[in-house]
């Protein structure tokens, strides 16, 4: 099995949401309309990118526990200007997203993946890898919110679409859980098939 890691892993091969189920709360709760998704994408991308890059300058000599606290403090500080900007760009959406906007500052990519993955790479590779992990999240929330908005509300970016059957439950939290579960299964199936083909029918291909 090919264990080589690529900077593109975060986009497809090891997607933040679909593979590791990280940062799924905003996808489940806020990923029901494209407008919400745009605000989440902006905040998540800005907070995560700046925080992880800034956190990489924290001395490795410091104890692990102290480093984790510093990462959280950095992301909490980054959140403040990001929120001010968001109030200008997405004034109505920010209130709708509520606490999930703030919780992006303690997302698993910052708290878990920094020490486990990003800070073990050289800085250049880390930046590219981080960008693709962020794109991976952005792509998933965009697809999920597009489909959920269409199925649950019969709209696309608040514009009414001529659709006969609506399933309003998909706009609710339980719909988010179920929809994400289905997407996760589909993603794993596609990944498994593509790996199977790439390895020339290797029967040892496993799902996480």
């Amino acid at each position: 099995m090919n264990k080589r890691t690529s900077v593109f892993d975060g986009l497809i091969g090891n997607n933040t949401v679909l593979s590791s189920l990280m940062v799924i709360s905003p996808v489940i709760m806020c990923g029901d309309t494209l407008k919400n998704a745009m605000a989440i994408i902006y905040a998540f991308s800005a907070i995560t990118f700046i925080s992880v890059i800034a956190g990489s300058f924290v001395p490795r000599k410091l104890p692990y526990a102290v480093r984790i606290i510093i990462y959280t403090i950095i992301s909490s500080l980054v959140f403040i200007p990001v929120k001010f900007a968001a109030q200008q760009f997405f004034p109505q959406v920010i209130n709708r997203i509520g606490i999930y906007f703030m919780l992006l500052a303690v997302n698993s990519l910052i708290i878990v993946q920094t020490e486990a993955k990003f800070y073990r790479m050289k800085r250049g590779k880390m930046i590219f890898s981080l960008i693709f992990y962020i794109f991976g999240f952005d792509a998933v929330i965009l697809i999920v919110s597009f489909l959920r908005e269409l199925i649950a509300h019969g709209t696309i970016y608040d514009r009414v679409v001529d659709i006969d059957t609506l399933i309003s439950g998909f706009g609710l939290p339980f719909g988010g859980f179920i929809f994400l579960g289905l997407m996760c299964g589909l993603y794993r199936k596609i990944r498994s098939v593509s790996r199977h083909e790439n390895t020339g029918g290797d029967s040892n291909v496993s799902d996480d």
Partner: protein, 190 residues
């Protein structure tokens, strides 16, 4: 009957099933079944102590500094995290060595921070809840809710990971759908 009513109340106000708070932590912990309950209990400690800290912070911060509330909550959880590590070190060094790399998962996550923000918002809407007792009780309730969902997940863990489930859906996807169905049932109760 009283116990049933209490369990239903806990489920209907459950932060995971109704607000998806702490779901990622739940799934990270669910990677190891033994860790799941331990993580849930540790989260309860953090939600309880963190809620007490949140009461003092939210009341001490002036209105103009509300944008810094996340920073102060993160600092308070950081202090609690260090205190927890110190207590664990003196309590049992072996457990400390094994657990020190994972405890931050129980401290810095959406379950703990989300609880603090939810309680603070409720207290702002209803001033009667703005007292230390209500904050701590809400923190304990949130933690117990997390334990309850962990138990629900653990009870189905074997089946959701069994060979009867199609390989693409085995594990995490099946757990997500399972939680979705439980969440739907809770939604019907409310």
């Amino acid at each position: 009957m009283f116990l049933m009513t209490e369990i239903i109340v806990l489920l209907t106000s459950n932060l995971i099933l109704t607000q998806a708070l702490g779901t990622s932590t739940l799934f990270i912990a669910a990677g190891n079944r033994k860790n799941l309950l331990g993580t849930a209990f540790t989260i309860t400690l953090f939600t309880m102590a963190g809620s007490a800290a949140a009461y003092f912070i939210s009341n001490a911060l002036p209105g103009s500094a509300k944008d810094f509330i996340l920073l102060f909550y993160a600092l308070s959880v950081g202090i609690l995290y260090i205190l927890f590590l110190i207590v664990l070190y003196f309590f049992n060094k072996k457990v400390f060595r094994n657990a020190k790399k994972y405890i931050h998962l129980s401290a810095f996550n959406c379950a703990v921070m989300g609880t603090l923000f939810t309680i603070t918002n409720k207290a702002e809407e209803n001033p009667q809840l703005n007292n230390i007792g209500s904050f701590i009780i809400a923190g304990i309730e949130a933690g117990i809710g997390f334990i309850l969902v962990s138990l629900i997940l653990m009870s189905a863990y074997k089946r959701l990971n069994s060979k009867d489930v199609p390989s693409a859906f085995r594990g995490f996807p099946a757990m997500l759908i399972y939680l979705g169905i439980i969440s739907m049932a809770i939604y019907a109760l409310t």
